[in-house]
């Protein structure tokens, strides 16, 4: 059978002002009908360029300079634009990463889908709309006919992604190109969307090219896998064969650098040193050689070709990883075995460096000329937790659950609506509420403001924040040296000379050359910038560091470098971390204890391994089950406890248990009574009416969650959920 999509020796270049980037350099790939081929690689490796080449929608300066792309036997390289327009959207459907920017915000979704149909088929408007209803139904849009008139902004992220898929499917394409279809959505939605793509592929027997940086996504959904590095396919095989017998050192290293469910969190992650090569001037040798552990002189002078072995497993390497029965975890462990074992840190349950008590944050919603308050977004509702000196506490949850707000409350970027933050024994909630610039705040008495400012300044030294986006967290107009010196200048620490010395020392410590101080941020790669961001947060020698999604903006191969660096610095400076992330695997690997946040509530907290292996709250269990794991065996056999629907609005959160609207085991009581906190062993707490395990009274140890829950705060409105101890709540009563 002829493949539906056949790419042979494709070469695509992107011409820039001063150089030409060889984004795709001789890639061959085929996709059969009803088959999903997964294309994995880091950003900048050319995987998206392949997708765009196949629909001939390259960015400005992009040209296909060689090779051929055949869709259903039609050669599209050099095809006239008029004919290409028929193929685009007709024979090939494309699903883009970000549904918000890929849909026209001024057009109802029904019209947008119908437009696609009418461009390609001579049908009446009515027939096109009918087709829109049909495909919307196909992608699982509830009540599709009523939704036709909705505008994209009226839909949630997951529904928008469904509309995008419906649009791509409207003309019954034979090839579907999905470019990172789930990167912009949460892990629970990701599971739903991937399930949908899977179902569509088998129902419609479409050929699908699934482009992703996530090995887990590929492992569960692709029939074949192609790994790209620096514009080339370096390894290609059937999915099971690939994950069972990884041959290329890059693919092996990439897998090993991802924190995996079975990962021993005492060991450092493997990390690929250095950065990918500059594709405007690629080396005439193995492109991975400079970062490869197995590289020899031959690798640095000769270019390996992609060759196939007996099992139709292709790889481009002179020194492939031995083909014994190596499962991915084994690969990870083998590499990790060389890594140093981390010392176990001892933390004292009573020595809390930070105690957050009943944090509440509500944003008023105003309307009308007089800006009357008509409601509020309940971003954080009664969250309490304690963080012990020297430990790493992880906060996980979907986007919009309030975890970032909690971090911002702690460092004083937001003012508390209610509750108390005790840091190092001092109540800092009063400080936190005043530290914002005048956003409608009343004028302060200048003298008082001055002393308060000094207090805040002192506090800031010990409590620092590390930002998510390495591209926006460094001032582009400042040299790195100035950026790093700024905290010292603000705090008035040291002379200029001492400051410069400290900058150089800190750069060395985060793995950069001191010469970096004279450069501008835009000259560095994402990982290097994140190192600079980390260095800046550590300039004041803080005791406590809040890291908000520290690695989610980084490439997979760079992530482990940063995670390892963070752990090293923690050991060296005796830091306490609060890591906020949507990525449960990262949090489990980094954290000693985990808190799970759902819609402004802390639903479960406990030791990382315990929560991960035996979750008590149905939401935690669903979250864990939704994480794609890079192991096709477990991924395919897995019986997923999928979470239905999407995160409800925080303006009118569901009554009782906030998770009940998506919970598989919710009953009437969940809607009426807010669930009490139960204890499930040492330090392990969850609030649920029907926990997944039997609650046990705590064994003497004192849990921060429960204890602080007990503290009465006088000015709290009673309606927003005092936890009432129930019969099994001796934990609460016993304190």
């Amino acid at each position: 059978m002829a493949p539906v999509l056949e790419i042979t020796d494709l070469r695509t270049e992107i011409r820039l002002r001063t150089s030409t980037v060889h984004a795709v350099d001789g890639v061959s790939l085929t996709v059969q009908a009803g088959e999903t081929v997964g294309l994995v690689g880091e950003s900048g490796c050319g995987k998206t360029t392949i997708g765009l080449s196949a629909i001939r929608l390259l960015p400005p300066g992009g040209h296909i300079t060689g090779g051929s792309i055949k869709i259903n036997g039609t050669e599209i390289v050099g095809l006239p634009d008029a004919r290409m327009r028929q193929i685009r959207g007709g024979d090939v459907g494309m699903i883009f990463q970000d549904p918000m920017t890929s849909l026209n915000p001024t057009m109802p979704i029904g019209e947008q889908i119908a437009e696609t149909v009418r461009v390609h088929k001579r049908v009446s408007h009515r027939a096109a709309v009918d087709r829109a209803v049909e495909v919307l139904d196909l992608v699982g849009m509830p009540r599709p006919r009523e939704r036709l008139g909705d505008f994209p902004h009226q839909l949630s992220g997951g529904l928008r992604q469904r509309v995008m898929i419906a649009m791509a499917l409207a003309c019954e394409p034979s090839v579907l190109i999905a470019d990172e279809p789930t990167t912009a959505v949460d892990v629970t939605i990701q599971a739903q969307i991937l399930g949908l793509l899977d179902r569509l592929k088998s129902e419609l027997s479409t050929a699908m090219l699934l482009i992703s940086h996530d090995m887990g996504v590929i492992a569960g959904r692709a029939d074949r896998v192609a790994v790209m590095y620096a514009g080339r396919v370096v390894e290609q095989a059937e999915t099971v064969e690939f994950f069972d017998h990884i041959r290329h050192p890059y693919a092996e290293a990439l897998l090993a650098s991802i924190p995996q469910p079975g990962q021993d969190s005492q060991r450092a992650l493997y990390s690929i040193p250095g950065n990918p090569p500059d594709l405007s001037n690629p080396p005439a040798a193995c492109r991975f050689a400079p970062r490869c552990r197995y590289a020899t002189d031959r690798c640095r002078t000769e270019d390996p070709r992609l060759e196939q072995d007996a099992a139709a497993h292709g790889y481009a390497c002179f020194h492939p990883v031995p083909a014994d029965d190596v499962r991915p975890e084994a690969a990870g462990l083998r590499l990790a075995a060389q890594a140093r074992l981390r010392e176990t840190r001892r933390t004292d349950a009573d020595d809390l460096i930070l105690d957050a008590r009943n944090l509440v944050k509500e944003y008023p919603i105003t309307a009308g000329l007089l800006q009357r308050t008509i409601g509020s977004v309940k971003a954080v509702s009664d969250v309490s937790f304690g963080i012990r000196r020297g430990e790493t506490f992880g906060l996980v949850g979907e986007s919009g659950c309030g975890k970032t707000t909690i971090g911002r409350l702690l460092v004083g970027l937001e003012r508390l609506t209610g509750g108390q933050i005790v840091f190092n024994g001092a109540d800092i909630s009063a400080l936190a509420t005043r530290s914002r610039p005048a956003h409608g705040g009343g004028p302060d008495d200048p003298a008082q403001a001055g002393s308060r400012r000094r207090q805040i300044s002192r506090l800031r030294r010990d409590l620092q924040l590390m930002f998510q986006d390495p591209y926006s967290s460094l001032d582009p107009r400042m040299r790195v040296g100035t950026i790093l010196r700024e905290p010292l200048v603000i705090q008035g620490i040291g002379s200029r000379r001492e400051q410069d010395q400290r900058v150089a020392a800190m750069l060395t410590e985060v793995g950069l050359q001191p010469a970096a101080a004279d450069r501008y941020p835009h000259e560095f790669s994402g990982g290097q910038r994140q190192r600079i961001g980390l260095a800046r947060a550590l300039m004041l020698d803080p005791k406590f560091l809040i890291a908000d999604e520290p690695v989610s903006a980084l490439d997979v191969s760079i992530r482990s470098q940063i995670l390892n660096l963070m752990r090293d610095l923690q050991d060296r400076h005796n830091l306490t971390y609060l890591i906020i992330s949507h990525d449960l695997a990262v949090v489990r690997y980094m954290a000693d204890r985990i808190g799970v946040v759902y819609l402004g509530k802390l639903v479960e907290s406990g030791p990382a391994d315990t929560v991960y292996s035996t979750p008590a709250h149905p939401y935690t269990a669903a979250l864990i089950s939704a994480i794609p794991s890079p192991d096709p065996h477990s991924e395919r056999g897995r019986n997923r406890t999928q979470v239905r629907g999407e995160l409800p609005s925080a303006v009118n959160p569901p009554s009782g248990c906030r998770f009940r609207t998506r919970c598989a085991i919710a009953e009437e009581i969940c809607a009426e009574v807010e669930p009490p906190v139960h204890s499930f062993g040492v330090d392990h707490y969850a609030s649920c009416h029907f926990p997944l395990q039997r609650p046990v009274p705590p064994a003497g140890t004192d849990g921060a969650l429960v204890r602080t829950q007990q503290d009465p705060i006088a000015d709290r409105p009673p309606a927003s959920g005092r936890l009432v101890p129930d019969t099994t709540g001796d934990a609460v009563a016993g304190q």
């Binding site: 990390s271 197995y294 005048a438 956003h439 001032d475 700024e486 390892n564 090293d568």
Partner: protein, 331 residues
């Protein structure tokens, strides 16, 4: 596993650095002994050889032909106005009834006007005041407007509302009437014109910068300064204003052109610098009286040089905008 060379992996490099105390020299040879490319490289990878953002922008500006043309033209006009009179001496003070409305000749390359002044010499003299006032207005209006906008945008809330309503009020004043009113009450001087034109021109940059500040204040690097304990003053002056500098520079060039046009308009209406001071707008205004007499040299030279100057500054502004945007979109 047997055929794997025992090259230590990156985590080991971290460990190698592990004992490094602050202030000690660089622990570069991070454990790789086999002579790989990464031998002397810190774990974070190489530090790029530096090219500043400004140099990239300059490069891009120099690639822009229209921008270069504008720059050359502006330099030529400035030389013409300020160096020209040193070479080409003319009488621009006392009228000469014997030389009224002479057509261009070798003695008067662009002829003479209705009171006998040499037109070429008058263009030079008129240009001086136009360029001086234009540049001064651009500087004053930009400085004031940028601060106003940055403070308004960064602080937000009530402050923003008040500051921006003031801007709205100024925008609502019909500027020509205000100029004419002021010119009839006061005797126009270079200083007064600078103040008055600036007073109406700063609202443009103020609005632009406020818009930028609104988006800049939520950037993570601005929040980072707040987490460090930095004041609002520092944030506005060190972070927000420098990051709007692209917009500011581009806008300032257009401001020069606008100010020259406003000045010409005022002079044309008879409310510019009083005679005998030469202005381009005044020359145009007087020349139009003789349009039907065929004295074309009384109108065209002034009209053309006003247009050329404005176009030249606009070319520079456009090229600057492209240059500064390319810096952001590079790659």
């Amino acid at each position: 596993m047997s055929d794997i060379p025992a090259t230590p992996s990156a985590p080991n490099q971290h460990t190698a650095d592990g004992a490094v105390a602050i202030g000690q020299p660089l622990p570069t040879a991070a454990g790789t002994e086999d002579g790989g490319l990464d031998q002397a490289m810190p774990t974070g990878g190489d530090t790029p050889a530096g090219r500043s953002a400004w140099r990239l922008a300059l490069q891009s500006f120099l690639d822009n032909k229209l921008g270069i043309a504008g720059l050359v033209l502006v330099i030529a006009i400035v030389l013409f106005c300020f160096v020209g009179p040193l070479v080409y001496h003319t009488n621009q003070i006392s009228p000469n009834a014997a030389q009224i409305n002479l057509p261009p000749s070798t003695r008067h390359p662009l002829g003479t006007d209705y009171v006998g002044f040499d037109v070429l010499g008058r263009l030079m003299a008129g240009g001086q005041s136009s360029i001086e006032i234009g540049l001064a207005v651009a500087v004053v209006a930009t400085l004031f407007g940028v601060l106003w906008g940055a403070i308004s945008g960064y602080l937000g809330g009530v402050v923003d509302s008040v500051l921006m309503r003031i801007v709205d009020i100024i925008l609502a004043i019909p500027s020509i009437f205000l100029f004419i009113y002021l010119a009839t009450v006061f005797k126009p001087t270079v200083g007064l014109l600078i103040v008055v034109v600036s007073a109406l021109s700063w609202v443009g940059p103020a609005r632009l910068v406020r818009g930028e500040a609104l988006s800049l204040r939520v950037r993570e690097y601005v929040q980072a300064v707040r987490v460090m304990g930095g004041h609002s003053t520092r944030i506005v002056l060190r972070h927000i204003v420098p990051n709007t500098v692209g917009t500011i520079v581009v806008n300032a060039t257009f401001q020069v052109a606008d100010a020259i046009l406003i000045l010409a308009t005022l002079s044309f209406l008879g409310f510019g610098l009083p005679p005998p001071a030469a202005t381009w707008g005044g020359m145009l205004s007087e020349g139009t009286n003789y349009l039907y007499d065929g004295y074309w040299w009384a109108v065209y030279p002034a009209g053309i040089i006003i247009a050329l100057t404005v176009i030249a500054f606009n070319f520079i502004g456009d090229a600057l905008r492209d240059a500064l945007e390319v810096r952001l979109q590079r790659r």
